[in-house]
Amino acid sequence: MILPDVFIDRASPAAMYAEANADAKGIVAKVLEVLGKDMRNLGLMPGTSIRVGNVFAASRPAANLCPCDRSIILRFIGNITPNCAGFERRLGADGKIFEAQARLTVQLRFRVDGSKRSGWTSIMTVQCRLGHGPCQSAVRERLGLCKRNEDR
């Protein structure tokens, strides 16, 4: 990253570096751009909660914490990884993407059996399949996924 070849009006060093995108925010944005994973474009900022389909792999056992394994709520902590091996996109007959698996760094919402108590697990990495529920429609739209298989 270099200083851009543009006129930057005199101001405080912090303000001038910010205008040149050479501050921490600009560095982060550039790294995410290079990685092709600008999750802000996906609408998935840390702290966002989304409901996804079945979680089929986790960095630590999650089954005991999540009695409802077909539709659990994830609190999104880290980045989605659409271009790595942990993410798969399957194309329909017309070339549209209709299924996706993603690797996410998240906290899982859990309930304690037999009571109304609930909480969040510690941070873990999970692989999950994005489903078609209403809570996921915005995420699927951002990812360029069909809303339902019938839309193919």
Binding site: M1, I2, Y17, A24, I27, V34, L35, G78
Partner: protein, 129 residues
């Protein structure tokens, strides 16, 4: 840097002094000359490497903190020298190395890019300057 400049007797040397506030660090009682051409690894991670030359190191550390919140493990290094360039294997093992400088096109990033001629970055890495 003063001790380093004073220790250099066989060639010219200069000290570039920042005009604005700096981040305070403890100073040794007696200055110790730096090893010429050696970078300083500030933190080590596994997925992203930020290579800073000049006054952007603290911003790189702040950026690394934010990237860590996104799930990226970061290496941050203070390059210290544009030439000779330190080919630290800890940096070569990271992806993607990102040179950060306050210079211009053809500057430090271009120097780092010369590593591609010798294959130091040929490990499936993404390089961006």
């Amino acid at each position: 840097m003063i001790a380093t400049a004073a220790a250099i007797d066989d060639r010219p040397s200069a000290v570039r002094y920042p005009r604005s506030d700096g981040t305070g660090v403890p100073s040794p009682e007696i200055g110790i000359p730096l090893a010429i051409g050696k970078c300083r690894v500030v933190r080590e991670g596994t997925s992203v490497a930020l290579l800073s030359l000049g006054g952007r190191l603290q911003e790189c550390c702040r950026a690394a903190d934010e990237l860590a919140a996104y799930g990226f493990s970061n290496t941050v290094a203070d390059a210290r020298f544009a030439k000779p360039l330190d080919v630290d294997p800890r940096l070569a093992a990271r992806t993607p190395p990102r040179p950060i400088e306050g210079g211009s096109i053809g500057g430090f990033g271009a120097i780092v890019q010369t590593l591609t001629e010798h294959g130091e970055l040929d490990q499936g890495l993404i390089f961006a300057a």
